[in-house]
C-alpha cells in the first residue's frame, strides 16, 4: 500500500500546478520546467487510467460501457439496458451460486445440465389444463436442488473432488433430461408459464427482478451472515475451519444445493422466455458462469471473492455479447474479442490487487 501512495504523488502535484500558472511558483524555474506540468488533457487521461487500474474490474466495465456508448447511439437506451439485463439474468443467477462454490475452492460443472433438466421437468408440468404454475416452478427448482444436494453430499461426505463429481453429474443430468423427454423439446406450454420469462413487475421484466433478488440475497448471505463467513473460511483453509469448530460438510453441501436450486430457477426462466424446453439447452452455461465469476475477481483457489465482482463479470460478458451484436461485428471476431476481454479484465484485476 505504501507503493500506491508513492506512485500517486507526482500526479497530485501536477494537478495542483497546472491550473495556477499566474502566481510565481515558489520553486526555482529550472526545476519547474523539468518537472513541468503536463498538458491538461494528458494529465487527466493519466489520472483516469490510474483510477481505472485502481478499481480493476469495475474500471474495465466502465471503460467497456463508455466505449460501446460512443460506438453505438442505441447502446445506452432504456430499451437496450433492459435487453442486456434480460439476457444476463440466466447466466447471472447461475453465477451467483457459482461464486459461493468457487469461494469454497470448488467448481460446479453440472449447472448447464441442471438448467436443461430443470427446464424440461418444469415445462412438462406446464402443459395447458395441467397443474397450477407454482407446481411447475417448484418442480423445476426442486429438481435443481436435488441434483445440487447429491453433488454436495458426494463432495463433502465422500471427499470426492468437486471437478470429478460435477463432471459426472454434468453428463448424468444431461442424460436424465434426454431420457425424460426422449430427446425432443417440451413444447405446447400453457400461456401462464410465459409470466416468469415474459411478465414484469413495476415495469421491470420478471427475470431481471429475479436476478436482482438473487444478487441481493446472495450478497447478504455471503457478506453479512455467519454462513457467508464460513463459506470463505472453508475455501481459505478447510482444516483451520474444521479446527475452529465449523461443520465444513454442512457448508459444502449447502453451497452446492444453493447452486443447484439457482440453476433450476435459471432453467425455468430460460424455458419460459422461449416457451419451450430443450433437453440439449444450457450447454456451455457452466463456462459462462465460471468466466463471469473469475472476471469478477473470485479466486479459483478459494477463499477470496465477492458477489459484486461476479455481477460486474456477468455484465461485462452481457455487454460484450449485446454490444458486439449491435455493432454487427463478425461473429468470428466476436469470439476473439470476448477471449481478449476476459484476459484483459483478469490482468487489470491482478494489477489493482498488487
Amino acid at each position: 500500500m505504501t507503493f500506491d501512495t508513492a506512485e500517486n504523488k507526482p500526479a497530485a502535484n501536477a494537478e495542483v500546478l497546472s491550473p495556477a500558472p499566474d502566481p510565481p511558483p515558489p520553486i526555482p524555474p529550472a526545476e519547474h520546467s523539468m518537472a513541468g506540468p503536463e498538458p491538461r488533457e494528458a494529465g487527466r487521461w493519466k489520472r483516469t487510467l490510474r483510477l481505472l487500474f485502481k478499481y480493476g474490474i469495475y474500471g474495465a466495465f466502465v471503460l467497456l460501457v463508455a466505449g460501446m456508448s460512443v460506438a453505438s447511439p442505441h447502446f445506452l437506451t432504456p430499451v437496450n439496458i433492459v435487453n442486456i439485463l434480460l439476457q444476463t439474468s440466466v447466466n447471472g443467477i447461475i453465477a451467483v451460486g457459482m461464486t459461493l462454490v468457487i469461494i469454497t475452492a470448488g467448481i460446479d460443472l453440472s449447472v448447464g445440465s441442471i438448467v436443461a433438466l430443470s427446464a424440461v421437468v418444469a415445462a412438462s408440468f406446464a402443459h395447458p389444463g395441467g397443474y397450477p404454475l407454482i407446481v411447475a416452478i417448484l418442480m423445476g427448482i426442486g429438481v435443481g436442488l436435488a441434483v445440487g444436494l447429491v453433488n454436495g453430499l458426494l463432495i463433502a461426505k465422500k471427499g470426492l473432488a468437486p471437478f470429478i463429481v460435477t463432471l459426472a453429474m454434468m453428463t448424468a443430468a444431461r442424460g436424465l433430461a434426454l431420457v425424460y423427454t426422449s430427446g425432443r423439446p417440451v413444447i405446447n406450454l400453457t400461456g401462464s408459464y410465459d409470466f416468469i420469462g415474459g411478465g414484469s413487475m413495476l415495469g421491470i421484466p420478471l427475470p431481471v427482478v429475479l436476478f436482482a433478488l438473487t444478487i441481493a440475497v446472495g450478497a447478504f448471505l455471503l457478506h453479512f451472515t455467519r454462513f457467508g463467513r464460513y463459506v470463505f473460511a472453508v475455501g481459505g483453509n478447510e482444516m483451520a475451519a474444521r479446527v475452529s469448530g465449523i461443520n465444513t460438510h454442512r457448508i459444502l453441501i449447502a453451497v452446492y444445493a444453493i447452486t443447484g436450486a439457482l440453476s433450476g430457477l435459471a432453467g425455468i426462466i430460460l424455458s419460459s422466455r422461449v416457451m419451450s424446453a430443450s433437453p440439449a439447452g444450457g450447454a456451455g452455461y457452466e463456462l459462462d458462469a465460471i468466466a463471469a465469476v473469475v472476471i469478477g475477481g473470485t479466486s479459483l483457489f478459494g477463499g477470496i471473492g465477492s458477489i459484486a465482482g461476479t455481477v460486474v463479470g456477468v455484465l461485462i460478458i452481457g455487454v460484450m455479447n449485446n454490444g458486439l451484436d449491435m455493432l454487427n461485428v463478425s461473429s468470428y471476431w466476436q469470439l476473439v474479442a470476448k477471449g481478449a476481454i476476459i484476459l484483459l479484465a483478469v490482468l487489470l484485476d491482478r494489477k489493482s490487487a498488487a
Binding site: T225, R226, R229, A233, R242, V243, N247
Partner: protein
Amino acid sequence: MIMDRYVRNAHNGDGRRTIAPMNGNIPMTLGHRASVDYILRMQGICKSFSGVPVLRDVNLDVAAGEVHALMGENGAGKSTLMKILCGIHQKDDGAIYLNGQPVHIRSPKESLRHGISMIHQELNPVRAMTVAENIFLGREPCYRFTTIVNRHRQREQAAVLFEELGASLNPDARMSSLSVAQMQLVEIVKAVSCRASIIIMDEPTSAIAGREVEKLFAIIRNLKSRGISIIYISHRLEEIFRISDTITVLRDGRFIASRPVAELDGAAVVRMMVGREIRELFPKAQAAVGSISLEVNGLARRGKFRDISFRARCGEVLGFGGLMGAGRSEVMETLFGMYRADAGVISIHGRSVAIRSPSDAIRHGLALVTEDRQLTGLNLKASVKANMTLVSLKKFCLARHVLRLGEESRAVDAQLQSLAVKARDQNQIVSTLSGGNQQKIVLAKWLLTDPQIVILDEPTRGIDIGAKADFYHIIRTLARQGRTVILVSSEMPELLGLCDRIIILCQGRITAEFTRGSFDQEEIIRAAIGQRRES
C-alpha cells in the same frame, strides 16, 4: 517481501528499536579478523523493494571452513541477503568477492557455478524420484557417448557421497518415504556433489529434533573439516553457540556486528538482535492454583499414544515436553476432538464429557492453538477480523445468523490492542503479517471464546524474540485470570521458565512428571529420550 516491509514500518513507527548501542564495535570487530583468508566477502550491500530499503550497507565476511551464524529477528534482512548471494535477488549497491575476486551473481545458476548452495527451510524435492535421482537431477551420469542415464553409476556415486559424509541412506529410497531430516541430508549431499564451497542452511533445525540435530551437527563438522564454509541461519541460541565459529547480527536491515563466538554470550547476542535488553523474558509471578479443571484418564489412540492420564488445575500452566514425534500434538488434537480416541475418559470441571469434534471441545470451554498456524490455525487469505472472530462468530450475530459488524469490529480492535498486535487495521490480510503477529491472531481467535482451558502447541515456534516475550506474558496473564494453560513446547527454557508442572512424553507414553521446584534439566532430557523408567 511484503512481510519484511511491513515489519520495518511498524518498527519505525514505534521508534523503540532505533537505539543502536553496538555500532561503535564494528571497526574493532573488522580489525580483529583482518588477517583471516575470506572465502566470501559481501561489502556495503544495499537493497530496496519498491523504494523501501531492506538492506542498508550490510557486510558479511566468511572465512574458509568456518560455520558462520547469521542472526537477526524476522525481518532483519537475513533472507534477503542470502537471496542476493544465491542470485534470486539482485543487489542495488555493494560488492561481492569470492576468494578475493569480485563476482556478479545474476541468477541462481551462476551462484551454483560459483560454488554456493542453499538448503532452504521448506524443502521441495521431486517426491516421486529416488534419492540418487534427486541428487543428480539435471546432471545425471550417462553412458559414454549417449544420453542414457547410467543408473548403476548414479547409485554408486550417491552411496560414496553419503559414506564420505559419515551418513547412511539408501540411494534407491523414494523421496516421499523420507523424513524431513533425511531430505535435508539429501540436499546437503547434492550441494557437496555440486562442489559447493559455501553452503547456506536456513533454519535447518526448525523441523527436526533431538538425535537428528546431533546427526546434522556431525555432518556440519565433517563439511567444515573439508574446508567448506557454512552460513547458518537460526533463532536457536544454544545451537548457535554449540556449532558456530563466528556470529554476524543484522537488525532492521543494518549490519550490527560480527564477532567470534568465544567473545559472546547469549545475553549479548539477544541485546544485539533486539537493540534493547529483554530483562524479563519469563515473568516470575506465579498464579494461585485452584480446583481441577481438566482430568484425562487412560486416553489412547492406536499407533500414536496410550494410557495418557493427567489433571490440570485452574490458574495452572501445565507443560508437555518431549521429543518431536513423542505424541504430544496428537494427544492435544485428540483431546480437542480432531481425531477419535480409542479409549479414555475426559472430565471437565468434574463432569465426564464426550468430545467428538472441535465444536464439542469449544462448547466445553477448550481452545487449541495448533502447532502449525499456516496449516490449521489461520485462513491466510482472509482478514485479521474474519480470522479472529471465526470461532466466536455466534456472539456477534443477530438471531444467531446475521452479523453485527459494528460490535464485531469493536471486539477485534480491543483484542488487537490488548495483545499489542502490529497490524495496519483489522481488514489487513493475515498472510501479510509477521509470524509473531499471525500467532497472536490465532490466540486472539481463541481468547474471544473465553475458554477455560487453553492448549498452546508450540506457540512460539518460528517467531522472533520480541514477540516471544509478549507471548510469555500473555500465558502468565491467562493463568492469573484463573484459566488452565497447557503448553506443549520443545524449548526447554520455555518449559522451565513458564510452567508450574511439566509432563514428559516419550513414544506416546507419559514417562515423567516434574513440579516447579524439582525441575531438573538432565532428568527431563533423560525422560524425553526414554532412559528413565517411571518410578
